[in-house]
């Protein structure tokens, strides 16, 4: 399984901080985003946002990054710390 985490605005608007999804063959971060966008309008809006960031195994990456079972994938908005 792939553990998918959500932070900040996403976590609040999706009313969840994590879900598990089943890996498919040759899966990428973009596949996960698209799969989640199909859930409903709220998910679609958040997953298609231009500003959406994705990390795999706690490292920011792009939408072509491959994902395998056991990976930790996180979606979040631009960071605002400091």
């Amino acid at each position: 399984m792939i553990n998918v985490l959500f932070f900040a605005r996403l976590r609040e608007q999706l009313s969840t901080d994590s879900i598990e999804i089943s890996p498919i063959e040759n899966m990428t971060t973009d596949h996960i985003r698209q799969q989640l966008a199909e859930k409903n309008e709220t998910w679609a809006k958040l997953m298609q946002a231009d500003s959406l960031l994705v990390a795999v195994n706690q490292q920011i990456t792009d939408w072509s990054h491959s994902v395998v079972s056991g990976d930790e994938v996180a979606f979040f908005p631009p960071v605002t710390g400091g």
């Binding site: 985490l5 932070f7 900040a8 605005r9 976590r11 609040e12 500003s51 990390a55 706690q58 490292q59 920011i60 996180a74 979040f76 908005p77 631009p78 960071v79 605002t80 710390g81 400091g82």
Partner: protein
């Protein structure tokens, strides 16, 4: 040394730990505090969320990058999470070096990249409710300018 913590930090204690080595001629510290970002909205605090695990990795990596660019001795990065009220301390960056230019540059580099790379998110608590802060274009510019500065 990197700390992500709920508790407040003591600048006095952190300075004491930073100032012990006689080879260091320069100590630069930056402290960021909760201030009223949106004047008039009645901000009374912030709620700070982060991505446990990733935050520490990003900050360690930034420290390593700073050490590649400048001759640094001690580096301390502390960032608080959770609910903070107006005027409270959020972040501490302390850097020591034999050379002041290195200490200034590294300290500013660390806070610039912390702001654009470390997974923290601020929610402003105002009298009109809570509101996630948007990332600032000026912060992106500040960190982008480093690649130019460092290749000069």
């Amino acid at each position: 040394m990197i700390f992500v913590q709920h508790n407040d930090f003591s600048v006095a204690d952190e300075y004491q730990k930073l100032c012990t080595d006689n080879q260091d001629g320069a100590i630069v510290t930056f402290i960021g505090k909760v201030r009223d970002f949106n004047e008039g909205l009645g901000v009374h605090g912030l709620s700070l969320e982060h991505y446990p695990g990733m935050t520490e990795k990003v900050l360690s990596n930034l420290e390593a990058q700073a050490r590649e660019h400048w001759p640094l001795n001690k580096v301390t990065i502390i960032h608080r999470v959770g609910d903070l009220t107006l005027g409270e301390q959020i972040v501490f960056i302390g850097v020591t070096s034999p050379h002041r230019k290195a200490a200034f540059a590294a300290c500013e580099f660390l806070i610039d990249f912390l702001k654009t790379k470390a997974p923290f998110w601020k929610k402003e608590l105002t009298t009109q409710g809570a509101k996630w802060l948007d990332a600032k274009a000026s912060d992106d510019e500040s960190s982008e300018q480093w690649s130019e500065k460092l290749t000069k």
